[in-house]
């Protein structure tokens, strides 16, 4: 049986060390990261991470809470059960000789990918989509001889203007410090 996967989206401060803290947390707690994608967000000095975690319900709960506890992490959403758009980008370098180039091109067209580089004996294909589509494209290109695959990992977003139902920072809002020991 496949290991269940959870999709967490975290808004984090764009500061040195934050990625290290997140990665270190997952490593030492023994949570498996299937993919982690990070980039600037709509808010200045804040980045957004999409983290796909492998593990059961306990791991899912712990991973989200531990992540939320990190200083530098503003907000964590577990969007696994939401209506989401999830995409990743892949670059595939595949062996391509004059006699099979057109076969490859027709497959790439079905997947609405782009040929971004052509050399006498190879091509680089760019494609975006959800995980299943990317896997399917890889499968289709495999017989031609795949030389190299690069994947960004998933980025994911809740559909529509509604907030995620599991915005953990709304369940337990960030409170101003209310005093010491």
């Amino acid at each position: 049986m496949a290991v269940p996967r959870q999709i967490l989206v975290a808004l984090v401060e764009d500061k040195p060390g934050v990625l290290n803290r997140v990665a270190g947390l997952f490593r030492r707690r023994g949570f498996n990261i299937a993919s982690l994608a990070v980039g600037h967000s709509e808010t200045p000095n804040m980045s957004r991470m999409t983290i796909v975690v492998e593990g059961d319900e306990g791991v899912r709960q712990q991973a989200a809470r531990q992540l939320r506890k990190l200083i530098g992490v503003m907000e964590v959403r577990d969007i696994t059960d939401d209506a989401i758009v999830a995409r990743e980008l892949t670059l595939i370098k595949v062996k391509a000789l004059p006699d099979n180039r057109s076969d490859i091109i027709s497959i790439v067209e079905i997947f609405r990918g782009d040929i971004v580089d052509v050399e006498p004996d190879s091509m680089v294909i760019q494609a975006t989509g959800d995980e299943n589509k990317i896997e399917a494209l890889h499968k289709m290109l495999k017989p031609f001889g795949v030389l190299e695959i690069m994947r960004t990992g998933q980025v994911a977003m809740v559909r529509g203007s509604a907030e995620s139902t599991k915005n953990l920072s709304q369940v337990r809002p960030k409170f101003k410090d209310i005093g010491g020991v």
């Binding site: 990190l70 503003m74 337990r172």
Partner: protein, 564 residues
């Protein structure tokens, strides 16, 4: 006003109210040290090894509730702090460690005494900082203290490159507030959940409270006692929860877990409601988590959301400061009694010899600790190391007040007792501090006795001299067919050692010398080492092997109830 980075740090420490720091200088922290004479209001205590600085800061913090401060240089100085920082992290102790770092331009070049200290301490600090911009120093120091002491406390490390310490920048004063938008130390209490908890408590027939260090940290002992008395709920205190509930109270049950009293184990096993307060279901408390309190509904009160259902799945969680939770909960709980349940626990207490030990010719550690408890009457601060003596101390000492029993729980750091007792004494100059030491652990950190002598820090050190790593030997006896590998060792002449350090030393071999030795130690004005030559082979009971439960609990085969 233009100040150097070092002056800025010291101005901030002064503004923070820091009155003492424990440390040891070195090249990369020298600009800071050379600035110290300008700040005579901050006392610096020179330790013999940096781990002593971290553990002294820890002992100071646990016993005073204030943030402890330790200082070290880069590289080996900073890495020597690591065990002390980890110890503080495991037990939620607020300390701030300030370390020197090589100059900014040399970072990453494998410079002399360079180490990636923020990287090394990442998993054992609540947070840490490497200060690359001198102008950020005031805010970083503010944040460090704020993070260390608020929410669930913990250690914070601030790594400062040498040239940052030297650079002159404009200093505009210590910030009023920490600018921390991604830190939420305490959540508000959810009134609906509190109501549910009150109803669960009202309906329980056999409720039990397990109080942990969180109650001690928040000094919520008054509210805990109020709850226990109002609903007549017996209270178990964990190793780090000792003192959070009066030890002689009729509802006080004692310590749970691996070496806890049998009646606590049985009460947990039979309870229909367990309320964990400021504790984290550590494996030494729970044994097999699936069998732990298996008949009970569970309410967990903790400030740290990540502790909820981490080790033991609970039915209801109240995530906030214990003062806030009990402040809201206590008025909603009905006055109640459970006479049969309380009597049942008392019967178990009478039926089990957990705290009994046999009469012997030679000295038993339990005998010594029982008498020291009678002599100190819960007024002293007692600091222990880790191992058999720690468990016996936890069993035989009784405290009516919080934060008097200081011990390394989560990390089990041997040698903690010597520097931690020093820190506790510095923070509590008018209280007698006893360090209960194992002879193994004492040898790990004993150079700090010299620090005590030099600074007239009058800790009374009790060494249980049995020539073995007793707890490990006990496991070898019970689980490894008495194969005593690397647990028997030669001890030095501790009395001569005391004299070499310039402090008083006494050797005690007879039972009738025990109490007079305590009196002599208390009369003496400085640190004292009491070398108690105790029986080498003696086991701690009750004992539930790791991962065990009520069914695997063993009592001391040498004693019966009648002796108790």
């Amino acid at each position: 006003m233009k100040l150097t980075g070092s002056q800025i740090v010291l101005e901030c420490l002064k503004a923070e109210g820091v009155d003492v720091m424990f440390g040891l200088p070195g090249g990369a922290i020298l600009p800071f040290y050379q600035t110290l004479p300008e700040y005579p209001e901050i006392r610096h205590i020179l330790v013999r090894h940096e781990q002593g600085a971290a553990m002294a800061a820890d002992g100071y913090a646990r016993s005073t509730g204030k943030v402890g401060v330790c200082i070290a240089t880069s590289g080996p100085g900073a890495t020597n702090l690591v065990t002390g920082i980890m110890t503080a992290h495991m037990d939620s102790v607020p300390i701030v460690a300030i370390t020197g770092q090589v100059p900014r331009a040399m970072i990453g070049k494998d410079a002399f005494q360079e180490s990636d200290v923020t990287g090394i301490t990442l998993p054992i600090t609540k947070h840490n900082y490497l200060v690359m911009d001198t102008r950020e120093l005031p805010m970083v120091i503010k944040k460090a203290f704020h993070i260390a002491r608020t929410g669930r406390p913990g250690p914070v490390l601030v790594d400062i490159p040498k040239d940052v310490q030297q650079e002159e920048v404009e200093f505009e004063g210590y910030p009023e507030e920490a600018d921390l938008r991604t830190y939420s130390p305490v959540a508000e209490v959810d009134p609906a959940e509190v109501k549910k908890a009150a109803r669960m408590i009202d309906q329980a027939k056999r409720p039990i409270i397990i109080a942990g260090r969180g109650v001690n940290i928040s000094r919520a002992h008054g509210l805990l006692q109020e709850l226990a008395e109002k609903a007549q709920i017996p209270v178990i205190t964990t190793l780090l929860g000792i003192g959070s509930f009066p030890g002689r109270h009729l509802l006080s049950v004692g310590m749970p877990g691996m070496h806890g009293v049998a009646w606590a184990t049985l009460a947990i096993d039979e309870a229909d409601l367990l309320i964990g307060i400021g504790m984290r279901f550590d494996d030494r408390v729970t044994g097999d988590p699936n069998l732990f309190a298996h008949r009970a509904k569970k309410i967990h009160i903790d400030i740290d959301e990540t502790e909820i259902s981490k080790n033991v799945k609970v039915d209801l969680a109240l995530v906030s400061d214990v003062n806030k939770v009990l402040g809201a909960l206590n008025p909603l709980v009905k006055h109640n009694t459970h006479p049969e349940w309380v009597e049942c626990i008392d019967r178990w207490r009478r039926e089990h010899p957990s705290l009994a030990f046999r009469e012997t010719e030679d000295l038993l550690p339990q005998f010594i600790l029982k008498h020291l408890n009678e002599e100190t009457q819960g007024d002293a601060i007692v600091v222990t190391g880790v191992g058999q003596h720690q468990m016996w101390a936890a069993q035989h000492f009784c405290f009516e007040k919080p934060n008097r029993f200081i011990t390394s729980g989560g990390s089990g750091t041997m040698g903690y007792e010597v520097p931690a007792s020093m820190g506790a004494q510095v923070g509590n100059p008018d209280t007698t501090v006893w360090a209960i030491c194992g002879d193994g652990g004492f040898q790990m950190t004993m150079p700090e006795v010299l620090t005590m002598v030099e600074n007239n820090i009058p800790v009374k050190l009790v060494i249980m001299n049995n020539g073995t790593h007793g707890m490990v030997r006990q496991w070898q006896e019970l689980f490894y067919n008495k194969s005593y590998v690397a647990t028997l060792f030669q001890t030095p002449d501790f009395v001569k050692l005391a004299e070499a350090f310039g402090c008083k030393g006494l050797r005690i071999t007879e039972k009738d010398q025990v109490v007079p030795a305590f009196h002599q130690a208390m009369k003496h004005d400085g640190p004292v080492i009491l070398d108690f030559v105790v029986r080498a082979v003696e086991n701690v009971y009750p004992f539930i092997p790791p991962g065990g439960s009520r069914a695997s609990m063993e009592e001391d085969p040498n004693v019966s109830v009648a002796m108790g």
